[in-house]
């Protein structure tokens, strides 16, 4: 019997949860920021793919990484509103996710904002001064991955992934 869209969504969601587990282990072990961000980006991407697979079907989920900026805030609105009676709190949480989603997406090497953002969590790149930057030495100044927003983001990805993983 061929795999269904729900099979694919479940698989994406399970892998997102596993990516988050890897991030936890790396954070406790003191791994470089690029590795923590890499697994966070992968988890965010996969929960978005799980969401889109449920809505649009697996065939329409293309092999691209550019899902996060648009879809993570949509997922946030859906889950924070559904699970939280206090609407003002929901809006506040969604704004936090909106603020970071674009930067999370740009961590994927394939996403460079039309060539203007080559910084990514995996491969070295040449910066605007023609110097080679290395992810494990780069500070990723646009993302504070020790902020409260990260707590919010991880809890959202876990909640959404668990709902798609069943």
């Amino acid at each position: 019997m061929p795999a269904t869209d729900l099979d694919w969504a479940r698989a994406y969601a399970k892998q997102a949860l596993s990516d988050l587990d890897a991030r936890e282990k790396l954070a406790l072990a003191g791994a470089h920021k690029c590795h923590r961000l890499h697994f966070l980006q992968m988890a965010a991407e996969k929960v978005c793919k799980a969401h889109l697979t449920v809505i649009n079907g697996h065939e329409k989920v293309r092999k691209t990484h550019a899902y996060v900026e648009k879809n993570l805030p949509i997922i946030a609105r859906q889950f924070f509103t559904r699970m939280n009676d206090e609407n003002r709190m929901s809006q506040w949480e969604v704004r936090q996710i909106e603020g970071i989603a674009g930067e999370i997406e740009l961590l994927a090497p394939a996403c460079d904002d039309g060539g203007t953002r080559r910084d990514n969590s995996e491969y070295p790149w040449e910066d605007g001064h023609r110097a080679v930057q290395t992810p494990c030495e780069y500070t990723f100044p646009n993302i504070d991955d020790e902020s409260r927003t990260i707590v919010r983001l991880i809890r959202l990805i876990r909640t959404a992934s668990e709902s798609y993983a069943v």
Partner: protein, 110 residues
């Protein structure tokens, strides 16, 4: 050459709690979870943070690495719960006990 004195886990936890209160408008309480294990720098500081309106997910730690540049010399686990979950934890010590933790002191905002 100057000598950098490492802050204790207890002092670091107080500083972290104050910083979190400044940045999280819905944060109501921060409680230290014991044991702190001051002698083991690899054992994380564990903070139970009560946030009004947060999604209720039970005891779910989120890890953060040590960051000596910011004065955080130890890894940190943040466990965020709602006020209702917090009351359940206060009423039932086994909730924390299953993780090997007990409720510690309240850490103030200032």
């Amino acid at each position: 050459m100057g000598v950098t004195v490492k802050r204790s886990k207890s002092e670091t936890a107080k500083n972290l709690a104050q910083a979190h209160f400044r940045n999280e408008p819905k944060l109501k309480h921060v409680r230290l979870l014991e044991p702190l294990n001051e002698g083991d720098p690899r054992d994380p500081i564990k903070l139970l943070e009560v946030v009004e309106g947060t999604i209720e997910r039970g005891i779910e730690p989120i890890a953060f690495p040590a960051n000596p540049g910011l004065g955080i010399d130890y890894p940190v686990l943040i466990i965020e719960v709602s006020p209702r979950e917090f009351q359940n934890i206060l009423d039932n010590a086994a909730v924390l006990g299953s993780h090997g933790w007990i409720m510690g002191n309240e850490l103030p905002a200032v």
